[in-house]
Chain length 259, copies 2
DNA sequence: CCCTCCATATCGTCG
DNA sequence: CGACGATGTGGAGGG
């Protein structure tokens, strides 16, 4: 890795400038790193550690990862993420709510994150600590998102004829012995209609889900003949389409709104 | 945020030491930041940007996020992750395979990640760039993990009597019109057995899946009476248990091995 | 807590 | 590239 311009010299352990929101260490000694990381976690900051490390996990499953350069993210809510060069998902992690413990140990820096229910532990051992970053975070801002299944449901409720002329929605999340139905209503002829919504192309799972609700409601209402199940999604896979036909279920193409 | 020890002064834009594996910038100008980030991406390094920014996404859905301090991770494989103080998941992201573009623009630093199929774009606009990090990553190391569904299957195949005395596995991933069956075999009486495995407590979804396979194979083999469907998992939920009973399916408790 | 289900799910594998 | 199912799925909402 060749730098694009000249680098200034700064001794190991010498902290980078602290403007009150960022603090960094370059190649710190384990003891120095541990002190700064603990301080950052105490201050509810986001802490990063980059270096050569091994990772061990034990809990719902168990895993081992040999030595390599990794990027560790410690969140103020107790979450931990270990990222490698590849993949959107962290190679190892710990969910929010964990307790982070940082200890220098035999020349290495050990970061241990633990929780109970379920009992889980993540251990990241840095044999080389190349960078520590402490970043002051702002209060969380609300993410606004459109194009979800809830948006698709709103679209259908605002314009029920998108399902078919004469459709009348009567309830959302109506309970059945098999779970809650997305949209429950009646068609023009007064027949009960059960709608299962999917925000994207639907597969066999979606059909099974719809089938469960229809079965449950047929048993519950003893009205086997006058019950329709309709899958609403942008499209269906071929196997899903066959499953729908086999069980007398229907499909209506509809996309979630984009605004 | 009060530092645990004295900070040295370093001017903005003055790069931190470059030992060939880490390079950082503190409070860089947008143009300087863009240059270093481009250089880092070019070098297949992992690049981080911390600062105050807004985030916009448009693609499979669409989202907006107001200004706040966030941590951006740009991966050499083309992935992007925007992390806030909270949550294990990034608040916004882009999967691997994207093209990252970095531009200074009207006093801000814009990072844009795009891909096609599906067409998606993520735009992170930093109104304040507080830190840039460039980290040289090692080649990926294999993660070894135990306790998966595959491990549970191996356990069952090595000791078929764990299902029941006399069980004989005949195939794994046997194809049916509804998909592949986890384990396919015969019981002591010569009846066909379909096994669906779950590494953790099983819910209604797992029962539906098993039911689909049993239905498909009954139609395919025309042997409605001599076909058994067995769900193998550490445990089942109450609703799943009722669904199993309703459809004449069975349950056997078994956990994935831990070593 | 458990249960249930959505997700810009992501990821691997297979056709 | 699409389909299909596993995931240490995570996260939200309800009981």
């Amino acid at each position: 890795m060749t730098a694009p311009s000249e680098s200034s010299a700064r001794e190991p352990d010498e902290p980078a400038p602290d403007d009150g929101r960022v603090r960094t260490l370059e190649r710190p000694e384990p003891a120095t790193a541990a002190e700064t990381i603990r301080w950052g976690l105490e201050a509810e900051a986001l802490v990063t550690v980059f270096g050569r490390c091994t990772v061990e996990y034990e809990g719902r499953a168990a895993s081992e990862l040999g030595a390599g350069e990794r990027h560790l993210l410690l969140k103020p809510d107790g979450g931990a993420l270990v990222h490698t060069a590849e993949g959107q998902q962290p190679v190892n992690w710990q969910p929010p709510g964990c307790v982070h413990a940082v200890e220098p140990r035999e020349g290495t820096l050990e970061v241990r994150s633990t929780r109970s229910t379920p009992a889980e532990e993540l251990l990241v051992s840095f044999e080389e600590t190349l960078h520590v970053g402490v970043f002051a975070m702002s209060e969380p801002d609300q993410l606004s998102i459109v194009g979800t299944e809830a948006d698709l449901r709103e679209r259908l409720l605002e314009e029920p004829s998108l399902l078919e002329p004469g459709f009348q929605p009567l309830a959302i999340e109506r309970q059945t012995p098999a779970g809650a139905v997305d949209v429950f209503g009646e068609d023009r002829a007064g027949r009960t209609v059960i709608v299962e919504l999917k925000r994207r192309r639907a597969g066999p799972d979606a059909v099974s889900q719809l089938r469960r609700y229809v079965d449950a409601l047929e048993r519950d209402l003893h009205t086997a003949t006058d019950l329709r199940g309709i899958l609403v999604a942008p499209s269906v896979t071929e196997r899903a389409e066959r499953l729908l036909a086999e069980h007398g279920l229907e499909f209506v193409a509809l996309e979630p709104p984009r605004e």
